[in-house]
Structure formats: C-alpha cells, structure tokens
Symmetry: C2
C-alpha cells in the first residue's frame, strides 16, 4: 500500500526516513516512483527506462530492483499510486454535494482531470502488458475507486426508484469518462478543425452526464 500524501511530497524531506546519508537513500521507493512518473510524462510509456529513473533518483542502475523486483514491479506500483489518487479525488468529488446527479458530474470531472494532473500514472494504469494486472494491491486500489462511482450510481437509481441496472449504468459512465480521457486532445483538435474553439472539458462532462441521466430516467 502506498501512502498517497507522502508520495506526492517534495523530493527533499522524505517521510519516515533519514533523509539520505550518502549511501542509504532513506525513501528510495517514493523517489523512484516520482522519477518514473516524471520520465513517463516526458517521454511517454514507450520511452520509459529503468536506468534513467535510477539516474534521476541519484542511485545506481540496479537499485530499483531491490525495491520493486523489476521494471514491471515499479510500473505496477506507479499504477497503484494512480488508482489511490483517483480514489482520493473521487471521495473529494462526492463531498461537494449531496445530490447524486451532481456527484456524478463531479466524479466525471475528477476522473477526466486525472488524465492531465496525473498523466504519467494514467499512461500506465490501464496497460496490461507493462504492469502486473493480477497484483492484489493494485486490484484492491482499483476496486476501491470503482466502488465510489458504483455507490453514487446506486444511490441515484434508488433515490429516484429507477429501473436501470446499477452495474450497467456504472459501466456506461466509466466507459464514457475513460474514453474522454483518451480522446480529449483529439476532440479539441477536431473542434478547431471544424472552426469552433475547443470545448471546455468540464462543461462537456456536465452535458454528457445530464444527457446520460436523462436516458437512464427513460429506461423501460
């Protein structure tokens, strides 16, 4: 389990560590995760390099192996951190209102904004080839984030006594937001090619959400 708060703290002042005595780093795992995200955001997941990560953390090229086993282990840890951050952002999002529909909108905004605020993490979280998708900690982090969305959908359907299937509505919202994360740049490009200015993503999400909610309320 990764501590989300410490994971995003500055490179100096490592928590629960001796701040580096020259030989022993003190908080190498977090430093490596930070460096890994940095490299991915600069070069993409395809340009990732364990040795470059080690270089940026100021350690030898084999140091990462002692904490993460191999490249897959480090990237899996980055993905786990991403899901933990998504979970935290989701919890914060539903705290802004008591109305399930408003919560759904905020959840969508939180999800899509993760694509920009945690771009490095997102490039890794849904890859099946470079991370270990069977990792128990990764799966539990992912399911926790999923649970937030599901519970909001369930409450909306219960509150309004709708006939829609909770799971399927959850999947619809999830898919739409997941697609939006990936397509937002292309959408902006197409909008400009069509002679209109790129849409404000948060507004787009609000309209998508109300549109889907309208459809859900209309279910047979």
């Amino acid at each position: 389990m990764i501590d989300v708060t410490s994971a995003t703290s500055a490179a100096s002042d490592p928590p629960a560590a001796k701040a580096g005595d020259g030989y022993h780093h003190g908080d190498l795992p977090n430093a490596l995760r930070r460096a890994a995200v940095e490299v991915i955001e600069e070069r993409g997941a395809g340009g990732f390099s364990l040795r470059e990560v080690a270089r940026r953390a100021g350690v030898s090229h084999t140091a990462p192996a002692h904490h993460f086993g191999d490249m897959k282990g480090l990237l899996t840890s980055v993905a786990e951190e991403g899901f933990a951050a998504l979970h935290a952002a989701s919890e914060a999002a539903i705290g802004t209102s008591d109305d399930p529909v408003a919560q759904l909108t905020e959840l969508g905004r939180a999800y899509v904004s993760m694509g920009t605020t945690h771009r490095g993490h997102c490039e890794v979280m849904f890859r099946t080839d470079i991370i270990d998708t069977e990792d128990p900690e990764l799966m539990s982090c992912g399911l926790e984030a999923y649970g937030v969305l599901e519970s909001v959908v369930r409450r909306m359907i219960d509150d309004e006594h709708l006939s829609a299937d909770v799971d399927e509505v959850t999947w619809l919202c999830w898919s739409t937001m997941q697609g939006l994360v990936q397509l937002a740049p292309k959408i902006s490009m197409i909008a400009e090619a069509h002679g209109r200015e790129a849409p404000v993503i948060d507004d787009l999400i609000a309209r998508f959400t109300t549109l889907m909610v309208d459809g859900i309320r209309n279910a047979p």
Copy 2:
C-alpha cells in the same frame, strides 16, 4: 496509403510482387506490418521489437528501416492500417440499415469489435509516444473513420429535428465506445466478481446506444 485488402492477405502470395527471389522479398512492407501486429498481439506494445519483427519476416534486422525509416515509422503504418480497417468496418456497419439509430448501434458494435479482431492495431492507434500522430496519411485515415460516425449522428439529428449539437453527440458516442474497448475485459471481470455472468458486449452496446439516444432526444 495502405491497401487494406492486401494487407490482411496470407503471408504467401504477396500481391504485386515477385514472391521473393531469395534476396529481394517482394512485399516486405506488408510482411513487416503483419509481423508487427503479430508481435504486439503476443507481447503487447511494450514488448514490441523491431529485430523480432524482422526475424519473423525472414529478413535482416535493418531491413525494416529501408521501408519505414525507424520503429516509429512502422508502428505509424500499423496504426494507419488500423484506421483504414476501422473505416471499412464502419462503412459496412452503416450498410446494414437505413435507420440512423440502428446504424449508430452497428457503428458502436463495429468499433468495439475492432478491439478484439484488431487488438494489435488498437494497442497502437491511440498512442502518442510510439507513433507519429502528425503523419498526414495517418490523420486522413483517422478523419475518414471519424467522418462516418459524424455523418450518421448528423442524419439522426436532422431527421428527428433535434436540438443537440452534432459534434458533441459524436464525441459522446466516440468516447463511450473508445472507453468500452479498453474496459470490456475489466467490466467482464467485475461482472463475474459481482456474481453475474459477463455481459454480451453487443447487447450492452445496444442498451448504451438507446440510452444515449433517449438522452439526446430529451435535450433542451
């Protein structure tokens, strides 16, 4: 521009070529694309290797460079082939009916089924780090496929005199199907974890589509 029909033909009987005289291959570009897709489907985009592709095509490790420049060039060509296949599948999908809503459903099914029938291509098509997204041929192939969806959405909105924005509805449908491609395996996993059998994706797409269309008809 890649000829989609020849690109998927068998390894033997290369079209418009001398079938390999021992030294000169005859149809190396297509053979390399085929091998590339094969490698990606086996190992994922992260396990891709130019040398392995060359090995499978039976040529030296530098032969691909003469046709595609570098790794990015070959992968861009694979992505282009993917968009061309998507375009073809989209055209076929809208040919099954005259009703725009039915066409929209079929378009969604064609899109999502691409994720399994052309898994290797799909792993590359929306990556920004390992392909050249500025490539003119790639962009035109992508826009052609996009145009099919957009025209169906436009016809639906026109036919029913709806107030919804054509671009935004197109983006909604695209995002949802794009997310579904990526999340389908996870959705099946979650369904089974919830004690229900994995959903039939084609049915899910039909329900998602009618739900979204209901929302579109309800726009202010």
